[in-house]
């Protein structure tokens, strides 16, 4: 060790009045010299030290945002909203699977030009957003459901944030099939209104029962609809005509009204 930091330099360093080269030199020297480290430490104001230490702890503790969380923050979501969405990122796999199945069905329909597959695609496509709704926020899909529901933040707000964060991508992914189905005319998007009706219906029913049960019940009813109407697979497309579109729009609108009028029911977890 050929040199030590003198008192004056130590004071100037702490006061940040040294030039960059001298400061860097002192810093690298202090790493290996106990005596100079002590001398520098004696010059540092306790308040400043505390604030630096706190800033350091804060930087170390700052939650490591997941890619989804970062993406949401980038598009303008608050860090609170982004965290609420990111908390249950694993629960998204069921709806990704459901969307993948419906997309596969659409691809088969395009490739085979076999009419039955297009009908099956239209029946299955609304299940993606419905599964997304079911896996958004509920007793079975969120491990911290009970802790979450008794927190002061309204459960409906969390439910709506999570549903928006899963249903919108589910619909967007399902819509990837549209460009290939344009030759079907407006039937290429005939699944959209039923999708919204089923998701909104499940949300409305979740003011009475768990959202998972509501979605399961509606999903089974939806799948049973062709049987109840005695529609063969070849005529499944008939189901998506104007009457069903109108009914879907009415169901979706009614569901929104139900959610608005029963919003207080959502804040009790185990009805």
């Amino acid at each position: 060790m050929t040199w030590h930091v003198d008192e004056m330099s130590a004071k100037r360093y702490v006061a940040r009045r040294l030039d960059g080269t001298s400061a860097a030199s002192i810093e690298s020297h202090a790493l290996v010299c106990d005596e100079c480290r002590t001398r520098l430490g004696q010059q540092v104001d306790d308040v400043l030290l505390d604030s630096v230490w706190l800033a350091l702890t804060e930087a170390l503790d700052r939650p490591d945002a997941s890619p989804i969380e970062r993406a949401l923050q980038r598009i303008g979501c608050s860090d609170v909203t982004a965290r609420v969405v990111a908390a249950t990122s694993r629960q998204r796999w069921p709806f990704v699977l459901a969307v993948a199945i419906s997309l596969s069905m659409s691809l088969v329909a395009i490739q085979s030009s076999y009419e039955d597959f297009f009908g099956l695609f239209l029946i299955i496509a609304p299940l993606g957003p419905l599964v997304a709704t079911a896996s958004s926020f509920g007793r079975w899909s969120d491990p911290a459901y009970e802790i979450t529901v008794m927190a002061p933040t309204p459960a409906l707000r969390i439910l709506l944030i999570r549903i928006a964060a899963s249903v919108v991508p589910a619909i967007a992914l399902t819509a990837l099939s549209v460009p290939w189905l344009l030759d079907r005319g407006w039937f290429a998007i005939a699944w959209l209104l039923p999708s919204l009706a089923l998701s909104a219906g499940a949300l409305a029913l979740s003011s009475w029962v768990d959202v998972e049960r509501a979605a399961l019940g509606l999903g089974l009813m939806w799948l049973a609809l062709p049987t109840m109407l005695r529609l063969p697979v070849a005529r499944l497309i008939d189901l998506f005509g104007a009457p069903v579109q109108v009914v879907s729009a009415v169901v979706a609108a009614t569901a929104v009204v139900v959610v608005a009028t029963r919003h207080e029911s959502f804040d009790i977890g185990g009805l």
Partner: protein, 286 residues
């Protein structure tokens, strides 16, 4: 005792099966332990108290706020810390992230102040060294402490803990008792447990629930007193005893109606509970 929680004619049914009540109870500052066999209604009562379950009948007030109204529930939730029986933690979060997430839900909006509060509660449960570890890598006892840390956020007036000592080793249980007793000096703590040792060591008051009804409400000493003159030891198993077990010293401990000349010993909370319940609690071997 000034009541922080007032429960009147509270009941809950699941379908047609009655699970709780009607019960009338008041809870004030201090630790109240709920004892009872499985299915006695402990968790139901605590979930109603934590506003996560609606009662079928009756009233519940916390600090004067009516849990039956949305505004009352919101006011209660702002004063509440809750550890459910089933610990639901996000495995991919660190301990800090999880407690921070709950702090967000508990309306701690300012990030710096929130992080300070998160660090405070994590230090309180002695998890500072592992706060950056993923929850999936924490032991069962540490997970319990993470759950307790989130309940302590904001220094709640009412702390509701459903079987908080399950899975804790003796050292962790002692630490838990320390934390809870420190909190109970100024706050109301209601916890359920199967461990009569916890009640003896921690609670100023014990409520025994049997089939949804209050079978006993008093101090642990009074509960033990229920078995005064009804606990004895002998070298052989006494077939006349209601419950017997062989102790570590090789003698037989009996609870029930002692025969003449029996060697009576002072009763414990467990003895009183056994007689009250007419059965064997989890954790005791008959």
């Amino acid at each position: 005792m000034s009541a922080i929680v007032q429960i009147r004619s509270l009941s809950r049914t699941y379908g047609r099966s009655p699970a709780l009540g009607p019960v009338d109870l008041d809870f004030g500052v201090g630790v109240t332990g709920l004892l009872g066999p499985n299915g006695a209604g402990k968790t139901t009562l605590l979930r109603i108290l934590a506003t996560s379950l609606a009662p079928s009948g009756g009233d519940i007030r916390v600090l004067g706020h009516d849990a039956g109204t949305p505004s009352g529930r919101l006011a209660i939730r702002r004063q509440l810390g809750y550890v459910p029986q089933e610990l639901g933690l996000y495995e991919n979060f660190t301990a800090f992230d999880f407690v921070d997430y709950v702090a967000i839900l508990k309306e701690h909006v300012d990030r710096r102040a929130r992080h300070d509060e998160v660090r405070r509660v994590i230090a309180e449960v002695d998890l500072s060294d592992v706060r950056s570890k993923k929850i999936r890598k924490l032991s069962g006892g540490m997970r319990r402490r993470v759950a307790l840390a989130q309940a302590l956020l904001g220094e709640p007036t009412l702390l509701v803990l459903d079987e908080p000592t399950v899975g804790l080793d003796p050292e962790q249980r002692l630490r838990f008792r320390q934390i809870i007793s420190r909190h109970a000096e100024r706050r109301c703590v209601v916890l359920s447990t199967h461990m009569t040792e916890d009640v003896e060591a921690l609670c100023d008051r014990v409520v025994v629930l049997v089939q949804g009804r209050v079978a006993f409400d008093g101090t642990p000493l009074e509960l033990a007193g229920k078995a005064a003159g009804r606990v004895w030891v002998g070298d052989r198993l006494d077939p006349g005893a209601a419950v017997s077990w062989r102790t570590g010293e090789g003698r037989h401990r009996h609870v029930g109606d002692p025969p003449p000349g029996a060697e009576l010993i002072p009763p414990t909370v467990q003895d009183g509970y056994l007689l009250l319940n007419g059965g064997v609690p989890e954790g005791a071997s008959a």
